[in-house]
């Protein structure tokens, strides 16, 4: 009985040896992997629809430029061969006249007018007045003259350049605008005129406010996290409830509470006046100060929690060891404790900074006109002026800047990485 079994198993081993180990591993793991995939599938689909989809849509809208092409298809085709140096030829004028007649009939003229008006202020009037006054299709050879008579703008090269630039299907126009850049008549990229150049300032402001809020959160959060990590569990749990308390009320309520506290007849000013510390109410709200205070309050837990978890992992034995080796408390803190909290500091700062970048409600409620962050403008363009292209471009620039920062952070952290030390 023993012999056949040995023979069988040795044959089995031979057969097995022919199948590469990697493939056998894959086969063995397949069922588990399928199950794991099935478990994350709902989330994956959800994220695809609610996160990846919209972001892709936003990025696409930032460069999408098909409005003019849809309304003025013949004109775009005629302008394709135009070198842009002189006025286009009669053929283009005839095509434009034909397009305008057709667009008027289908009622789509406003779509193109809106898009062209972004690029050249007053284009809306040019197009609508032309559409209004162009009664019939001009006779062959007279299109240039007819259009020029209706609106002299058709005799200017810039008008035609604008149409050609907007011919799509993709454009860098919105992205350039978001960076305060524009193309001049020659097509070279130049700085936008000062009255239109606002976004760089807004981006700088957004990053500055986010940075100050991050620094404030770190300064306020570090001692709290340290205390949380050092206290015995009973008391630290109580303290943790206070840290998490802000999550129990809505963002709007918390922000409005700051208005109550900080306004000129608010609690803080009244108290200071009553104590005789100040003679006139301080301006604490509708300025940068109010924005930073309110945002720091809202974002503080996002700093404290990662700090706390990194500090909780640091055994008290390290500080004792440092002391026994002759390090005074401050030296031990700076050289032993602080470096080990760096991952927590990094994670907390990144979290707070990125959340702060996208803040909208809080600055809108407690900030002045000069404290509105980029989200305010994105909201403005999506809800008020329906300029989706510019709104998307601003969003795309913000996203790109954030990704760059995250990558820089990743590099920095990698350099500092603590490779699985003793965690008692």
């Amino acid at each position: 009985m023993g012999l056949p079994m040995t023979a069988a198993s040795s044959i089995g081993a031979d057969a097995l040896a022919k199948v590469p180990l990697k493939r056998r591993l894959k086969q063995a793991e397949r069922a588990r992997q399928t199950k794991a995939l099935a478990l994350i599938l709902p989330l994956l689909i959800f994220l695809l629809f609610t996160f990846a989809g919209p972001i892709a849509g936003m990025l696409w809208r930032a460069v999408d430029d098909r409005e003019v092409r849809l309304v003025l298809p013949q004109t775009i085709a005629a302008l394709a061969s135009w070198d842009g140096r002189d006025l286009p030829d009669e053929k283009a004028y005839a095509a434009l006249a034909g397009d305008i007649m057709a667009a008027r009939a289908s009622g789509t003229i406003a779509i193109a007018a809106k898009r062209l008006n972004y690029a050249l202020n007053g284009f809306r009037t040019i197009l609508t007045s032309t559409a209004r006054n162009l009664k019939t299709v001009p006779d062959p050879g007279t299109a240039r003259e007819t259009l020029g008579k209706i609106n002299p703008a058709w005799r200017e090269r810039a008008t035609w350049t604008t149409i050609k630039d907007a011919s799509g299907p993709m454009t860098g126009f919105y992205l350039l605008s978001a960076l305060d850049l524009t193309r001049n008549a020659d097509g070279t990229i130049v700085a936008a005129p000062p009255d239109q150049a606002i976004y760089r300032d807004v981006f700088v402001r957004t990053f500055l406010i986010s940075l100050s809020v991050t620094v404030l959160c770190l300064i306020l959060g570090f001692p709290v996290a340290y205390l949380l990590a050092a206290l015995p569990p009973g008391r630290s749990n109580l303290l943790m409830i206070f840290v998490l308390l802000p999550f129990w009320t809505s963002l709007l309520v918390r922000t409005c509470a700051w208005i109550v506290l900080l306004q000129s007849k608010g609690v803080v000013n009244d108290s200071l006046l009553w104590l005789g510390i100040i003679d006139a109410p301080l301006r604490l709200i509708y300025n940068r100060f109010g924005v930073c205070v309110a945002m720091t309050h809202v974002l503080l837990p996002f700093m404290i929690l990662p700090l706390y978890s990194s500090m909780k992992a640091i055994s008290p034995a390290y500080m004792r060891a440092a002391a026994s080796l002759g390090a005074p408390p401050l030296t031990a803190f700076l050289r032993i404790y602080l470096p080990q909290t760096l991952p927590g500091i990094g994670a907390g700062s990144l979290l707070v900074f990125i959340l702060a970048l996208g803040y909208y409600i809080t600055p809108a409620l407690v900030g002045g006109a000069a404290d509105q962050m980029i989200s305010y403008f994105i909201a403005l363009y999506t809800t008020e002026t329906a300029n989706w292209g510019l709104a998307s471009a601003l969003g795309a620039v913000l996203l790109l800047a954030t990704i760059l920062l995250a990558l820089v952070y990743g590099k920095l952290v990698q350099g500092q990485q603590v490779t699985g030390g003793m965690k008692n």
Partner: protein
């Protein structure tokens, strides 16, 4: 005998009337007086909660005595913060700084003392050579094995030449073979460098292997402080007898006391002569302590005139490689151990028994010399 011949070196550490309580009700350390001489290797041995670690922490400065004073080189140190005590310490889980390399870890005590760079480098190199880890200087602690981390912790605690080195169960996390090897290495370091070591452990064999003297702690009190062989051969009470080495206990009542010896009637029947170590007098109850290797088994019927001869029933035999144990039922003790080993004690090798010749249920006799049976305080 030997202790009397050597003039004792002056005490480096002196605990004087130390008491410690955490909750204000219960004393963890009760009135501790302990001298540790320069160059000595003293182990604080005891079960968990006996106060040994608290004592070490008070010496290191991480706990403050509730009462009493600790002197280090004749200087009271109760109010000296840990970083000014000049005491090296090796922790239970090594406490190597995970964000620093091995070399940086070892250099840490030198750099906080602002030792000049060149000298510090030389000393770190020497320390790495001492632990034979020069090639791992740039690794981080997480990349090392437990034994390697232990060596680094040791080097780090020694590199600044402290007056005293404390070790808090440093080998607890290592496996048996590595632990035994490290015991010898630490012992060797102690001998070659002449350092003073205070070592805390709950492992009695570790204490016996390494120490010059062992302080046995129980319930906040030092039960006995002595050389390893004295502790084993001459325990002063039942706790020490039981805690150090294997031990058989027989309960009884003292009948007569005559000089150093006494006659004890066993609770389970029979009487034996024992050395009176810790008995108050005739009529007192006592616990007899006999080491398993000091007992011989006499097969049933063999005549003998030994003064201590008790009937026993074999329960079981356990084979342990280098020796075997016979588990017997003697008097009221059903787990009475007898070590069977060739060549233990010539006079007691009657019948030269081996484990194989004993069967469960056999009726035999055991015998031991009066000087190997200690009459101690009742448990």
């Amino acid at each position: 005998m030997e202790a009397g011949m050597v003039t004792p070196a002056p005490a480096l550490v002196r605990f004087s009337g130390i008491q410690k309580t955490y909750d204000g009700e219960h004393l963890v350390v009760k009135n501790l007086d302990l001298d540790i001489r320069k160059g000595e290797f003293v182990t604080l041995l005891g079960p968990s909660g006996s106060g040994k670690t608290t004592t070490l922490m008070m010496l290191a400065g991480f706990e403050v005595p509730t009462h009493g004073e600790i002197y280090l080189a004749d200087r009271p140190i109760k109010n000296v913060p840990p970083h000014k005590r000049d005491i090296g310490m090796v922790f239970q889980n090594y406490a190597l700084f995970p964000h620093l390399t091995i070399a940086e870890n070892i250099a840490f005590p030198l750099s906080v003392r602002s030792t000049n760079k060149a000298e510090a480098q030389d000393r770190v190199k020497a320390a790495l050579r001492m632990i034979k880890m020069e090639n791992l200087a740039q690794r981080r602690p997480g990349q090392l094995s437990g034994g390697q981390q232990q060596r680094v912790a040791l080097a780090r605690a020694l590199v600044f030449n402290p007056q005293l080195v404390l070790m808090d169960e440093p080998l607890g996390a290592l496996d048996k073979r590595l632990r035994e090897q490290m015991q010898l290495e630490i012992k060797q370091l102690h001998e070659t460098m002449g350092i003073t070591v205070v070592y805390v452990t709950h492992d009695q064999s570790e204490a016996l292997t390494m120490s010059d003297r062992i302080a046995v702690f129980n319930d906040g009190i030092v039960q006995q402080i002595d050389k390893p062989d004295r502790l084993y051969e001459h325990p002063v009470n039942s706790f020490v007898a039981h805690f150090i080495g294997e031990n058989n206990v027989l309960a009884g009542t003292v009948e007569t006391v005559e000089k150093d010896y006494c006659r004890v009637a066993l609770a389970g029947g029979g009487a034996v002569t024992a050395r009176a170590v810790n008995v108050s007098g005739a009529g007192a109850s006592t616990s007899l302590s006999v080491r398993p290797e000091r007992i011989a088994i006499i097969p049933n019927g063999t005549s003998s005139d030994e003064p201590n001869r008790l009937p026993a029933k074999v329960q079981n035999t356990i084979y342990l490689g280098d020796h075997a144990l016979a588990v017997l039922d003697v008097a009221d003790n059903r787990e009475f151990m007898v070590k069977l080993q060739p060549g233990t004690h010539d006079s007691l090798r009657a019948g030269s028994l081996t484990a194989g010749s004993l069967r469960p249920g056999d009726d035999v006799f055991i015998t031991f010399r009066p000087e190997d049976c200690l009459a101690l305080d009742p448990v």
